[in-house]
């Protein structure tokens, strides 16, 4: 009940915090995961290359 009244009194805050902020946090997390994945994949490939050179 409290949320119903609050959302009707603050529609823009409700929209921003509830949907836009959540969507942009999801995008930020996805970007961070993609960057992290690239970093660890590059590390793996470098390690493999170094190991094969030592052999």
């Amino acid at each position: 009940m409290g949320l119903d009244i609050w959302m009707r009194e603050n529609p823009l805050t409700y929209i921003w915090v509830g949907s836009y902020a959540v969507a942009f946090i999801i995008f930020a997390v996805e970007i961070a995961m993609v960057i992290h994945k690239r970093k660890i994949t590059l590390q793996q490939v470098r390690l493999m290359r170094e190991a094969s050179e030592e052999e």
Partner: protein, 244 residues
């Protein structure tokens, strides 16, 4: 000048091309997000019946459209990989799936936030909502199935079948508001015209373009990692500048 499109169907040529394209897509997406939000929240007027709540449309509709469109593209790439046995197609399908799942989640989440003030409920088992939820499960199923098989080529084939069969859900989502009597409203923009204010249309299409460019940038960045991972034993990977 004839362009040899098949040239970029090989990971060796696609990898550097994707690297060059990512910044363009990412920067364009960021600019369009800023413009779309400005038009949507500053220029566009409040709705006559829904007041300020309708402004969720600028993220809800683009994410719903992109979630469906990405699924079709993912299924298309998966089918190409299955039919022609092309490595890059299957890699692209794997790269698109997580982004598609996130857009389906955003669509459902923002829909729930819109539904509460308008319908008085976060969720109803309406045909449009339920079919979009199935789309999210199909994406998650594709990712889980692919991850559960160790051999990547076998995983590609199994997941491709799921993607192709699941694509039947996309027209069901799109036409659900016509085929069934749903609580979810029908399309506001039709071929015959629209009653939407011009600023609302501009904001929605700008946000749609921004979401699309974002999805392409992220999928390209992800496919580069997949290429690196799968081709790590090849000579061309060891000769890359970033690996040295």
């Amino acid at each position: 000048m004839a362009i040899n499109w098949f040239k970029y169907s090989a990971p060796t040529t696609f990898y550097p091309l994707a690297g060059r394209l990512i910044p363009w897509f990412a920067i364009s997406s960021a600019i369009l997000f800023a413009v779309g939000l400005y038009i949507g929240f500053v220029v566009a007027p409040a709705d006559a019946t829904q007041g300020e709540f309708y402004r969720i449309i600028f993220i809800h509709v683009p994410s719903s459209i992109i979630s469906m469109f990405l699924y079709l593209i993912m299924a298309g790439y998966a089918a190409l990989g299955l039919i022609f046995n092309t490595r890059l197609s299957s890699m692209m399908a794997s790269a698109i799936a997580p982004t598609g799942a996130l857009f389906a989640f955003i669509s459902l989440w923002t829909g729930a936030l819109w539904g509460k003030p308008m319908w008085g409920a976060w969720w109803v088992w309406d045909a449009r909502l339920t079919s979009e939820l199935i789309l999210l499960f199909l994406y998650l199923g594709f990712i889980a199935l692919h991850a559960s098989i160790d051999d990547p080529r076998r995983a590609d084939r199994a997941a491709a079948l799921l993607a192709i069969i699941g694509s039947v859900n996309v027209p069901i989502i799109y036409f659900s508001v016509k085929w069934w009597n749903t609580l979810h409203q029908g399309s506001t923009i039709k071929y015959s015209g629209t009653s939407m204010h011009i600023a609302m249309q501009q904001a929605m299409f700008t946000m749609l373009a921004a979401c699309w460019l974002y999805a392409v940038a992220v999928a390209l960045a992800r496919v580069r990692s997949i290429i690196l991972e799968r081709e790590k034993n090849t000579k061309w990977i060891t000769e890359l500048a970033e690996v040295k």
